[in-house]
Every structure is written in structure tokens, then in C-alpha cells.
């Protein structure tokens, strides 16, 4: 019972890591990134390649995360430029199709180059017992990292000048530009940051169980659902929604079976879009 809850929270935090990137890119760039899960897989693959070169697990993971971030920056500076030329609905549509295309390009390349790939990171200690409950160290570690990253993100958005600038762009892009904020540079920074968080989620998946090249679409879809349920402009909403959906998913797949659980999850997301398009925690628009 408590083990399921714990599993759900671990998975939920990981989903939140993915989803928060989607939220940030959507809020700041007005692009719904359909290649986000592929960023995660890319990060994981790079980490695995470094591992294969004999690099120690920690720098390899950091390298993978950095590689995902670099990919994000490159994508923002090249592929998404045509989308940024438009505003509003037109930009959303173009961004959606471009990132969908990108997701296929990344999936196709990775599946072709590394057909039987899987990343598994081993932790020295298999499980620890805290307060009488056995917990897997891997899950504990990924959760801790995720919580730290979220804390850092909140602090960054709340207290630094750049964070304030980012929030102002999310509120109103034109207004922020009039105040002397350069949306393009901030956007590149955020896409890079979001891609790094996706890379972290990918590496964490390798730590928690194992990561394969075919998991990109699944990551994207789950991240998208969490981002939508959390309200695509709200970072705290995304965190809450991720943990919530993670727990629901863990319980549902344990008691009713994976297919029905996923259907319940999807229906919940659909209902949220229809009833509260602005997300669970958002207060009006």
C-alpha cells in the first residue's frame, strides 16, 4: 500500500520534471513542444554513450543532461525560428507541427542508430528501510533530485531578476518587451533549461528502471497530460498535477490493470481540459 504510494510519488515527480519543461516553453515561447519526451531520451542516450566510454556514472549523467540542454538551445535557435515569426494561434499550430516533425526525426534517428539500446544505471545500495518501510534507493534518489530541482526552480523564478523577467513574459510578451526584456534570448535560455530538466528525467528513468529509445512518445504524452491538467501556464499546478497523476496511475495500474488505468488517466485529462481549460490550480485567465 505505502510502497505503491511511494512508487506513485516517485513517478509523479519524474512526470513533473518533464511537464514543467513543457509548461515553461509553452508559457514563454507559445509553442507546445511535442518533442519533449525525445529530449529526455536523447539525454539518456548521451549519458549511456559516455558511460560506455568509461566515464563515471555521475559525470556521465551530467553530460547527458547538458547534451539535452544543448539540443534544446539548438532547436530553439534553428527549427523554431519560423514559428516565432508568428503570434498566437498561428505560432502554436506551426510550433506543434514542427516539434511533432522533430520528435519523429529524433525517434527515427535514435531507433535506427541504437536499435537495442537501454540505459540502466546502478546504485550501490539496493534498498534502505526508513521508518520501517523498505524503499528503493534509486527511487529515493530520483525523488530527492527532483525535489531539489523544483526548489531551485521556484527560488529562481521568484527571487532572481531573470526569473522575474521570465514570469513577466509569461504574463504578457509585448508588455515585457516594452520594459526592455529581450524575449528571444530569455526564450532560448528557458528552452535550454527545460530540455535539461527533460534530460534529467530521462537519466532518472535509467536510474529507476531502464530507458529505451522507444520511450520518447510515451514521455511526451504523459508530460503533455500532466502539463495540461496542471494548467499549461502554471509551474506549481504542474508539480501538483504530476504527483497526483503519478499516484492515481500507480494505484489504478496496481488494482485495475495498466490499460484501464491509462484510459482513466486520459479521461481525467480530457475532462480537465473541458471543464477547466486553464488548469487545476490556475485562477482565471
Amino acid at each position: 500500500m505505502i510502497a505503491i504510494l511511494f512508487d506513485g510519488i516517485v513517478q509523479g515527480l519524474q512526470l513533473s520534471l518533464l511537464a514543467v519543461g513543457i509548461t515553461l516553453i509553452y508559457g514563454l515561447g507559445g509553442v507546445l513542444n511535442l518533442a519533449h519526451g525525445q529530449f529526455a531520451v536523447f539525454g539518456g542516450v548521451c549519458a549511456a554513450l559516455l558511460l560506455a566510454q568509461g566515464v563515471h556514472a555521475v559525470p556521465a549523467s551530467l553530460g547527458g543532461i547538458a547534451a539535452a540542454g544543448a539540443l534544446g538551445v539548438v532547436v530553439d535557435r534553428t527549427l523554431l525560428l519560423p514559428a516565432y515569426r508568428y503570434r498566437g494561434e498561428e505560432r502554436l499550430l506551426l510550433g506543434l507541427i514542427l516539434t511533432l516533425g522533430l520528435s519523429f526525426v529524433i525517434d527515427g534517428t535514435l531507433n535506427y542508430r541504437f536499435p537495442h539500446f537501454s540505459l540502466t544505471l546502478h546504485v550501490p545500495l539496493q534498498s534502505v528501510t526508513i521508518a520501517g518501510i523498505p524503499m528503493r534507493t534509486a527511487g529515493l534518489a530520483t525523488s530527492l533530485i527532483a525535489i531539489l530541482v523544483f526548489a531551485a526552480l521556484f527560488a529562481f523564478l521568484r527571487w532572481t531578476l531573470l526569473g522575474k523577467a521570465i514570469r513577466s513574459i509569461i504574463e504578457n510578451e509585448v508588455g515585457a518587451e516594452l520594459c526592455g526584456i529581450d524575449p528571444a534570448r530569455t526564450r532560448t535560455f528557458i528552452v535550454g533549461l527545460a530540455a535539461m530538466m527533460a534530460g534529467l528525467a530521462g537519466v532518472a528513468q535509467g536510474l529507476f528502471s531502464s530507458l529505451g529509445t522507444e520511450m520518447g512518445p510515451e514521455f511526451t504524452i504523459l508530460g503533455l497530460l500532466v502539463a495540461v491538467v496542471g494548467g499549461v501556464r502554471s509551474v506549481n499546478g504542474t508539480l501538483a498535477a504530476g504527483v497526483l497523476l503519478g499516484i492515481v496511475n500507480a494505484f489504478a495500474s496496481h488494482y485495475i490493470g495498466a490499460y484501464i488505468a491509462f484510459i482513466i488517466l486520459l479521461s481525467a485529462a480530457m475532462a480537465t481540459i473541458l471543464v477547466r481549460p486553464q488548469g487545476l490550480l490556475a485562477h482565471g485567465t
Partner: protein, 322 residues
């Protein structure tokens, strides 16, 4: 409208029908090429439907495979479980798809969902469909799928008659499309694809027209999907997957040109050709889809029809714009 007017108006359709009717002669007796040609017809009809939904009324349905698949599964399962004739169950399946499409459209207009949110809702439906098929194992036989051969549709099980059945379906879809577009409804579609608010102010019932386009489009998707299930000999989730239906149709529509009459036909034909070229490379087809999507959407948004029109206008005598 006099007979000559009608002839002039539908001359291009007649040419297409004639040209496509000749294809089996060139394919000779090779069942392989005939199958590819038949598949191309299926995708052409689906692209015509998507043109109506996305091209004309800007509703991003990312559940084309799921709609066609719902119709296919409904008709196959009914035919199997209740021993009904496919002639009865196919219309039921197509009707189910029509209702689903109309429902999505109506709900999205009612809730004021933009392009993106409708896209996500329909994408979620795609996944629900996929998981439901896998989950309802006793009815659908899960990943393996159901064998549809011998369920009473002998006509579709021979290569050549099968081809002509789909040709008839495609022409029916095209005629339905042309009739819609040349009526007041078509005017309304054009108006609301330019600017919905202005169209609404001009007295056009935007909700009704969007739901109509979605319903007709989904009906075509479902009808062709159900026939395809019986032609294919097997119906499985992979036949109607997102990558297998939605992406090719989206690419074909962009390739041919949105909001054109023959764009979907040209686009789907071109796509069939491209797919045949990359087939030897196996897994790489996904990569090619991605590159096509990106290139088409950034550099080639008008599509083949507009390009051909430019070429012909440049060389031939100048005609006034109709």
C-alpha cells in the same frame, strides 16, 4: 445548372476517376503493386476527409486513425459476434465515427477550445482508443487483431474488384466534397476559415458548419476505414495507429495542398510514392516523416496543386482568376 456546366465543373474529377481506373491495367497481375495502389486510394479518401476537417474549418483532429479504427472495429466485431452482414455493420461503424467526430467538434466549439486544445483532446482520444482495443481483449483479440476474411465480404477479398470498390468510395467522397463546397455551405466554410468572428457577425452559424464539416469528414474516415478493415484481411491496433494513419494523412494533405479539390489525391499519391522509396530502409521511414513534416510546413505550405498552377500559369496563356 445545365448539363454542360456540370460537365465543366466536374471535368477534373472525371479525369481523375478515369486515370485511376486505368491503374490496375498498368499494375498488371502483380498483387503487390495493386495492393499499394489500393492503399493509396484509401489514404486519398482519408485525406479528402481531413481536408474538410482541418483545411476548411481549422479543426485539428489528431484522432483520424482512431476514428477510422473505431468504425472498423465496430463493424468487424458486430459482424463477428452477431453474424451480421458487413453491408449492415459497415454503415453502423461509419455512423459511430460520424457521431464521435461531431461530438468532438461540438464540444470543442461549445467550450471554445482553440486548435491546440482540440488537438490534445483528440490525441487523448487516439490513445484511449488504442488502450481500449488492447484492454478489451475478449472482443478485439488485443495486439494480434481479428481476422476479417470470410465474414461475408467476398468482393473485397479479390485484388481487382477490391481496388474498384475503393475507387468508387474515393469518388463518392470527392463528389460529396465538391457538392458541399459548391453550395452555400462551401461559402460558409471559406468565410469561417478566413475569420470566424467575422463570419459569425455576417450571420453564418459557425457552430453548425464546423460540426457539419467534422461529421462529414469523420463519416468518410469511418466508412473507408471499415471497408479497409474487410479488405485488409485483418484488423489490429497497428493498422489504425497514430503513426500509421494520422501522420501520413497530415503529410499528404500538406504535400498536395490544403483547401484544394485535388490536392488530397495528388498528395496521397506522392506520399505513397515516397513511402515506397524509403521502404527498403525499414525503421528510417519515421525519420523521413519527420523531415517531410518540417520541410513542408516551413517551406512548402501551399502544396503541389498551387505549385502546378504556378507552373502552368507561367508557361501557358494567362487566364483570369476564377
Amino acid at each position: 445548372m445545365s448539363a454542360r456546366d456540370a460537365l465543366a465543373r466536374y471535368a477534373d474529377l472525371a479525369v481523375v476517376a478515369f486515370g485511376l481506373a486505368l491503374v490496375p491495367l498498368f499494375a498488371g497481375d502483380s498483387p503487390y503493386y495493386l495492393r499499394i495502389a489500393t492503399l493509396a486510394l484509401v489514404y486519398m479518401a482519408w485525406t479528402v476527409a481531413f481536408n474538410l476537417i482541418f483545411g476548411h474549418t481549422k479543426q485539428l483532429f489528431l484522432c483520424l486513425g482512431a476514428l477510422a479504427g473505431s468504425a472498423a472495429y465496430v463493424s468487424v466485431v458486430l459482424a463477428k459476434e452477431l453474424q451480421l452482414s458487413p453491408w449492415v455493420t459497415i454503415p453502423i461503424g461509419a455512423g459511430a465515427a460520424t457521431l464521435l467526430g461531431a461530438l468532438f467538434s461540438y464540444v470543442s466549439v461549445l467550450r471554445g477550445l482553440g486548435v491546440i486544445f482540440l488537438g490534445i483532446v483528440t490525441l487523448a482520444f487516439s490513445l484511449i482508443f488504442h488502450n481500449a482495443v488492447l484492454g478489451l481483449r475478449q472482443l478485439t483479440n488485443g495486439e494480434t487483431g481479428l481476422v476479417t476474411r470470410g465474414l461475408g465480404f467476398a468482393l473485397l477479398e479479390q485484388p481487382k474488384p477490391g481496388y474498384y470498390v475503393f475507387l468508387v468510395l474515393l469518388m463518392l467522397s470527392l463528389v460529396a466534397y465538391c457538392v458541399l463546397m459548391s453550395s452555400r455551405t462551401g461559402m460558409a466554410f471559406r468565410a469561417l476559415s478566413d475569420d470566424e468572428l467575422t463570419a459569425e457577425l455576417a450571420g453564418i452559424d459557425v457552430t453548425w458548419h464546423k460540426v457539419l464539416a467534422a461529421a462529414v469528414g469523420s463519416g468518410i474516415l469511418g466508412l473507408v476505414g471499415a471497408f479497409y478493415a474487410f479488405y485488409n484481411g485483418i484488423v489490429s491496433p497497428s493498422v489504425f495507429s497514430f503513426v500509421g494513419v494520422d501522420i501520413p494523412v497530415l503529410i499528404a494533405l500538406l504535400l498536395g495542398g490544403m483547401r484544394t479539390r485535388l490536392g488530397p489525391v495528388l498528395g496521397a499519391a506522392a506520399f505513397a510514392l515516397i513511402e515506397e522509396l524509403v521502404r527498403p530502409f525499414g525503421q528510417l521511414n519515421v525519420l523521413v516523416y519527420g523531415i517531410l513534416l518540417i520541410v513542408l510546413f516551413t517551406a512548402f505550405r501551399e502544396g503541389l496543386v498551387a505549385m502546378l498552377r504556378k507552373v502552368f500559369r507561367g508557361s501557358g496563356p494567362r487566364r483570369d482568376r476564377a
